[in-house]
Symmetry: none
Subunit: 449 residues, 2 copies
């Protein structure tokens, strides 16, 4: 069976967005054992969309489109695909009522345009959109299956996993078992090197590496006539990977690093306090995205200024004066201070120089402000606290030190800190810092602390 | 003149890499005023590559390929494109000597395969590769131009800018001007509805809407014989959009919402304190991603538990008891408390019920923890603070109230709070809450506070 991916959207043709959807679907199809030989991108244009559907139908059994299902006039994928297959559209009253109620609940005005989303081609059926209003559609005619998915990746991906995979599995007689092992703290090439022998000797299951943001995933996929046989093929290889990579594997499948950390804290009955400078709430925000977090994480402090480090966390002004705000000593005192002040068993701190980012106010605006506001505050603080002016707001200085980050951990009455040198944009350095802090804490908790 | 992009590479079809090259070239073509209506991806397969070249040549003047120019046997783009155009390949001795010397210098073994890179179709010419060994090629026949570029983005991008743009500019006489207006606080369909008259009467400039995460962008693009004339065509339409959408437009081009907020704070010489419950650091984290933020934002508090709201922000236990942690009254006290405790002119607070997320620990783990750890803490806190147990950790309760969020703002000595009902996953509700909080603050600051 062959499938092909047809991405619809003028913003793709203009290069305003990158086509991550095609890569996602391609990977999923490969895992399902479906061959896909073509990907096409067309704009929201009826004539060219029909031409693309024609070409696709001539060479593939399944056509999967993304984009153009929204309520606006330029969203024409469903109407055009129905016309291409010779199907009529009728309003699904149930769905329309649901959409309308949802919009009213959110205080959004309901316009006639929104009705488009509830139009269903006859003999087709809707695919549920767990993360948005535009439903997907599946239609079949003359042995061709056309599957229409929304464009926003987080809507499309959930719909593919929940709605499309079961449909495709029914169409094939091969069953797959796959498990993703999530690795943090070592790079992709290092992980691949460590697994070289395992990877090279395998054809079924296959082992595919995926580089993610600051981590690597390996997906092991076995194919067989039934699911249980596939699982039995995969298991010994999964065991081998665990034997080689050990605690570099933090979780499986959908488990996130923050979930792994919170699970360990729960198991050890420990509570966590965060003190974040350059990460500015990134760690707290990741933790809070785990439901059930309130058992181990109750509050965090974003200490972006030196004054905050001193008044909120009890870092000594002498430490900041002697070693600087971005130093091992400050990280140690921030971690211990956070645990003490917030009354938790574990304290995690980050202080570093993220540098100037792609996102930045114009220099003029920043300079004016620094002299008018922060300047005054700095003088006040420095006078009051004995903190030297030069160290204030070190995170905003883009210099040779950009990427220097210290991470401190207080646990079991002991406090340690490590130095890192990250590279890339401000955003990237902050992301790497948050990821590394969570991973360091995970390893500390694993190793008996 | 029309162009199209043909990406060659089995790794693209398998989803192992994301096609950033197509987006890059598309953006560059748009800036050059070249229409590009199709993008295609095929694997390193001769038959399918010829089929794709055929389709492309039938509808476009310029075909730009990426990938498949390397030295290995599966790199077949140049050989196939030459065959497609009926051109013969001959070895360019100069180039071959250069490649060989370069490889010897870097200690790489020179194999017969490397000769492939020095083969030139007759009547074609090479494009210099500043960042790698595989040169590009440009060939013309029967009014069609075929441009072959290497696959690695940093090689391709440099070659496009240095070698391809001068060739394309010679072929066109249109210049473009475009501006993006960024809108927040109203939905895509509502914004389009408001702009209906402006959009429908326009052909040059065009107005294109883009739905982004919790915001909408409108791009106005004008074409003319020179860049200044294009700008003059666009300006009256941009002015009209400003007249219609007013303060719903928070910024232009690359400006982010957090930058818009920080700019206003700088202008008004105000400092900001954040108190985040369900957003858990998301707002602070967005603010800290703006370099220069230290002038207006120095610290934030993530008050996930009720105890933290009481001890850290000074919310009265009676307020939480009477109205609940997720209430307008608590939001008001959090905002005022944050400004007071952190000694800032402005306080921004968020408290809400984000619900259970896609990311969530297993129920068993959460329950165990709630009784073992949080349970104990809750009893302690409740006893100490008089806070009823039932309201503690309201954010972790996934019930009918999911999506209920209160946002409080303290500014100019006055504190206000608003109620919202968001929908979607835990992550989405948190994202909407952070976005809405920043937008509300922006509007407050704009309106003279």
């Amino acid at each position: 069976m062959t499938a092909e991916i047809l991405s619809v959207g003028t913003e793709l043709l203009l290069g305003d967005i990158i086509n991550t959807n095609a890569a996602f679907i391609a990977r999923e199809l490969k895992q399902l054992g479906i061959s896909a030989y073509f990907q096409t991108v067309v704009g929201d244009n009826k004539e060219r969309l029909i031409a693309a559907l024609n070409s696709a139908a001539a060479r593939s059994d399944i056509i999967i489109t993304t984009g153009g299902l929204g309520p606006t006039a330029d969203d024409i994928t469903k109407e055009t695909a129905a016309e291409f297959l010779g199907l009529e559209l009728t309003l699904d009253e149930n769905l329309w009522n649901g959409i309308r109620e949802g919009m009213l609940k959110r205080g959004r005005p309901v316009t006639e345009n929104n009705k488009k989303q509830a139009l269903l081609p006859n003999s087709g059926r809707f695919l549920h959109n767990a993360n948005g209003t535009a439903p997907g559609v599946i239609m079949e005619k003359n042995g061709k299956t056309v599957i229409l998915l929304p464009g926003p990746p987080f809507e499309m991906e959930a719909m593919f996993k929940n709605e499309v995979i079961p449909i495709i599995i029914q169409k094939t007689d091969t069953r797959f078992y796959s498990k993703t092992l999530r690795i943090c703290g070592i790079g992709e090439s290092q992980a691949e090197d460590m697994l070289k022998d395992v990877i090279e000797t395998q054809t079924n299951p296959t082992i595919a590496p995926y580089a993610k943001s600051f981590e690597v995933h390996f997906r092991v996929t076995a194919a067989s006539a039934d699911a249980e046989a596939a699982r039995k093929l995969a298991q010994p290889v999964i065991d081998k990977i665990y034997a080689v990579l050990g605690e570099n594997i933090y979780g499986e499948d959908e488990t996130t690093l923050e979930e792994a950390v919170i699970s360990l804290l729960l198991k050890k009955k420990l509570t966590l306090a965060c003190a974040e400078s350059c990460t500015g709430g990134l760690i707290a925000s990741r933790l809070v995205n785990v439901s059930g977090v309130s058992a181990v994480f109750m509050e965090g402090i974003v200490s972006y200024s030196n004054e905050s480090k001193v008044t909120r966390l009890g870092v000594s002004p002498e430490t900041i004066e002697k070693y600087g705000a971005v130093s091992k000593q400050t990280a140690l005192e921030m971690a211990a201070g956070a645990a003490r002040v917030l009354n938790c068993g574990v304290g995690l701190s980050v202080t570093g120089i993220a540098g100037a980012g792609a996102t930045g106010l114009s220099v003029a605006a920043t300079d004016a402000a620094e002299s008018n506001i922060a300047g005054a505050d700095i003088a006040k603080t420095a006078g009051r606290r004995g903190v030297p002016e030069s160290d204030i707001c070190a995170e905003d200085k883009a210099d040779k030190q950009t990427g220097l980050v210290f991470i401190g951990i207080f646990v079991g009455g002991h406090v340690t800190a490590e130095e890192f040198h990250f590279t890339g944009s401000r955003n990237r350095i902050r992301g790497q810092s948050a990821q590394t802090a969570l991973d360091l804490l995970r390893r500390k908790l694993l190793n008996g602390n």
